[in-house]
């Protein structure tokens, strides 16, 4: 595990409040789906952020949404290139087991907001992944870097406008579509979405050992 002060290489602003920090990688080896502890260099507060970049990308990326009362995200929002952050990691277990990748496994990734981050890393890191990605967002401008996914596999579920691929929440999408019982379902985002989606998936006959969740707090 590395534990470092690392420089910010670039900041990509995606919306007024959401941005991608590109950070020096310094040789960090991680599995797609893992997270890091991240904070402004010298600050006492750190938070867990899923790694957004692929395992072979030259820099380490995290997708951050500024939270009004946040101890960390507000400070990260003010950082620029060459500023330093402190990183610990990689950490976490929200990864795809090797055995699932053998054969013709299919994956359903269900996310809300910045919960798309670990799936972005998985899709970039694992070539030929047979996935469908549901992204629960309010409006289409929150479809962060949607061009980086196969358009046939990415489904923006927009609850407040009609400009997505599906109008409604991810749970509405799950309710109205058939899901193969052998699908490995990975969920990431706020707890309420995960809870409701898990209940629906279980009702549809997905076994518990095919359900994997990472809650964002």
């Amino acid at each position: 595990m590395s534990d470092n002060f690392q420089k910010i290489l670039n900041v990509r602003n995606l919306t007024n409040s959401t941005f991608v920090l590109e950070i020096e990688k310094n040789g960090m080896i991680f599995e797609p789906g893992q997270h890091i502890l991240l904070g402004k260099a010298g600050d006492i507060h750190h938070r867990e952020y899923s790694i957004y970049s692929g395992v072979d990308d030259p820099s380490l990326e995290v997708l951050v949404k500024e939270v009004e009362e946040g101890d960390v995200s507000k400070k990260l929002k003010r950082l620029k290139s060459n500023d330093e952050v402190e990183i610990q990691g990689p950490l976490g277990f929200f990864t795809i087991e090797e055995e699932f990748l053998n054969g013709d496994s299919s994956f359903l990734f269900i996310s809300s907001g910045t919960g798309i981050s670990p799936f972005h890393s998985m899709v970039k890191s694992i070539p030929g992944l047979n996935y469908k990605l549901l992204h629960g967002i309010r409006t289409i401008d929150e479809a962060y870097e949607k061009d980086q996914y196969d358009p046939d596999r990415y489904i923006a579920c927009t609850s407040r406008d009609n400009n997505g691929d599906f109008h409604g929440r991810v749970t509405d999408y799950i309710k109205s579509h058939d899901i193969d019982k052998n699908t490995h379902c990975y969920l990431c985002g706020n707890f309420e979405m995960i809870r409701d989606a898990m209940d629906l998936l279980e009702e549809k006959g997905i076994a518990q050992d095919h359900l994997h969740a990472e809650v964002y707090f």
Binding site: G42, I44, F93, Q208
Partner: protein, 474 residues
């Protein structure tokens, strides 16, 4: 010159406290239970509950008032959240993570204290101090030469850094027959109700050679009950994959030593995380006599949704598979657990699932805690929405369920003769209190305090939900 330590929190803090005491005493300070006669006052803090941290604030207010009248040095160490650390820096003389304990003599020198007597002359200032001469009884165990204060990188707190040096300190064991051996520190799991990942930092495993040395030393000294400690004790070795043995292999090494030692002793471990509990670990425990047949396996909730919200990273079904393995491979094992009741958003149905889990797994003991917000933990951002009285009701409901099963188990012990370790006088006059290998309390009539710390045989004659009573077999 005397020191007084206020020790708060869990077994890990108790174990850490044994090393703190050793450092104080090697410096020549004497322990006192009376804080008013101490010159060195310290707190081993716990951040699990706000109540414990409030106690630290209350202590330091009092101690700082005493400073007007006498020379005192105060310190705080242990589990401290970064935000509290900043506040403590303004009120305590020294604030340091446990991992920096080996540098305590140097820290205290900065106050001009080179020996306990130095506290008498603190107000004369540093200029009168002579070359430091520390009262170190065993330099091999407590190296001072070459110690430097770590570079404080922009005030960032790294509680796990230097923990290996901390483990080199020989502890001042609190008992002559029961001991803790820390084997792992820190946590990478980030359960949403817990602040430990922020107070103790990342998982670090202690070298297996050191663990074995400490264990062999204790067994040679006649210790009978040894507990391997860690925040995620069975994550042992995962931070040093390929460079250190696994937890199962460590237990195997201990088991082999137990077989060859010719001594009787029991080795326990706490607390494991279900995620890292392998069948190999259970199988190793089943094979070796010295590995106690008692498993503490925290479930926290019997409901999958609550487990997700707690960020426990296991389901009830995964937990069930581990318990099934324990029952198959070690049928005689007792099973203990931890449960949090009244967690944010817990519904009646979810509570019922926890009750069903107690019914299914038939625990011998469950440490049931009514949920309270841990400042710094992720769940502290959620509304604590279950009223106190309701938590209490749920607590009693689960306790009643637990008692049914523990009582049933204990009743089945009636008529059996058990090997027990005598731990001390019982509250019941004229009785001694002991524990079976499975940590079931057995009390028996005897005034012979010389039995304390030894194994005896007791025939169980009666049973209560959480204890039994019997007669010693000579």
């Amino acid at each position: 010159m005397k020191y007084h330590i206020v020790q708060l929190g869990c077994q890990m803090n108790i174990s850490d406290g044994e090393r703190v005491k050793e450092v104080m005493e090697r410096l020549g300070f004497e322990s006192t239970d009376d804080e008013s006669e101490a010159s060195l006052l310290g707190v081993i803090a716990c951040s699990v509950r706000q109540k414990a941290i409030d106690k630290v604030y209350s202590k330091i207010q009092k101690w700082n008032k005493w400073k007007n009248k006498k020379n005192l040095i105060t310190f705080v160490t242990g589990c401290v959240l970064p935000a509290d650390r900043l506040k403590f820096l303004k009120t305590f003389d020294m604030v340091f993570p446990m991992s920096e304990l080996p540098q305590f003599p140097e820290m205290i020198q900065q106050y001009g204290i080179v020996s306990p007597a130095g506290l008498m002359s603190i107000d004369r200032g540093l200029q009168e101090m002579e070359k430091p001469v520390l009262n170190i009884k065993n330099e091999a165990a407590f190296q001072l030469k070459g110690i430097k204060f770590p570079e404080k990188k922009k005030g960032v707190f790294h509680p796990e850094k230097g923990i290996e040096d901390f483990w080199h300190i020989t502890p001042h064991y609190g008992s002559g027959f029961e001991a803790f051996i820390p084997i792992q520190n820190g946590c990478n799991k980030f359960c949403s109700f817990c602040a430990v990942p922020y107070t103790r930092g990342r998982e670090v495993s202690r070298p297996s050679g050191e663990i074995m040395n400490e264990l062999k030393y204790l067994v040679e000294k006649g210790y009978k009950s040894i507990t391997l400690l860690g925040q995620n004790v069975n994550s042992y070795g995962l931070d040093k994959k390929g460079k250190e043995v696994s937890f199962a292999s460590l237990l195997e090494m201990i088991g082999e030593f137990g077989n060859s030692s010719g001594k009787d002793f029991w080795v326990y471990f706490t607390s494991p995380h279900p995620r890292d509990m392998t069948e190999e670990v259970i199988e190793v425990i089943s094979r070796y006599k010295c590995l106690a047949k008692q498993i503490h396996l925290p479930i926290q909730s019997g409901d999958n949704e609550v487990l997700v919200r707690m960020n426990r990273k296991h389901t009830v079904d995964q937990y069930r598979k581990i318990v099934n393995s324990i029952r198959r491979l070690i049928p005689q094992a007792t099973l203990f657990t931890d449960i949090i009741v009244g967690f944010t958003g817990e519904t009646e149905d979810q509570l019922e699932n926890t009750r069903k889990a107690i019914e299914e797994f038939k625990y011998n003991m469950a440490y049931i805690a009514q949920y309270s917000v841990r400042p710094g933990a992720a769940s502290s951002r959620w509304v604590d929405d279950i009223p106190k009285d309701e938590k209490k009701r749920r607590y009693h409901l689960l306790t009643d369920e637990l008692m049914k099963h523990s009582h049933e188990y204990n009743k089945n012990l009636i008529g059996k003769t058990m090997d027990v370790l005598v731990r001390g006088k019982d509250r019941k006059q004229g009785y001694l209190s002991a524990l079976t290998e499975g940590k079931i309390i057995v009390r028996f009539p005897s005034d012979n305090t010389e039995l304390i710390g030894s194994f005896v045989k007791v025939k169980v004659e009666s049973a209560a939900p959480f204890s039994t009573e019997g007669k010693m077999i000579i």
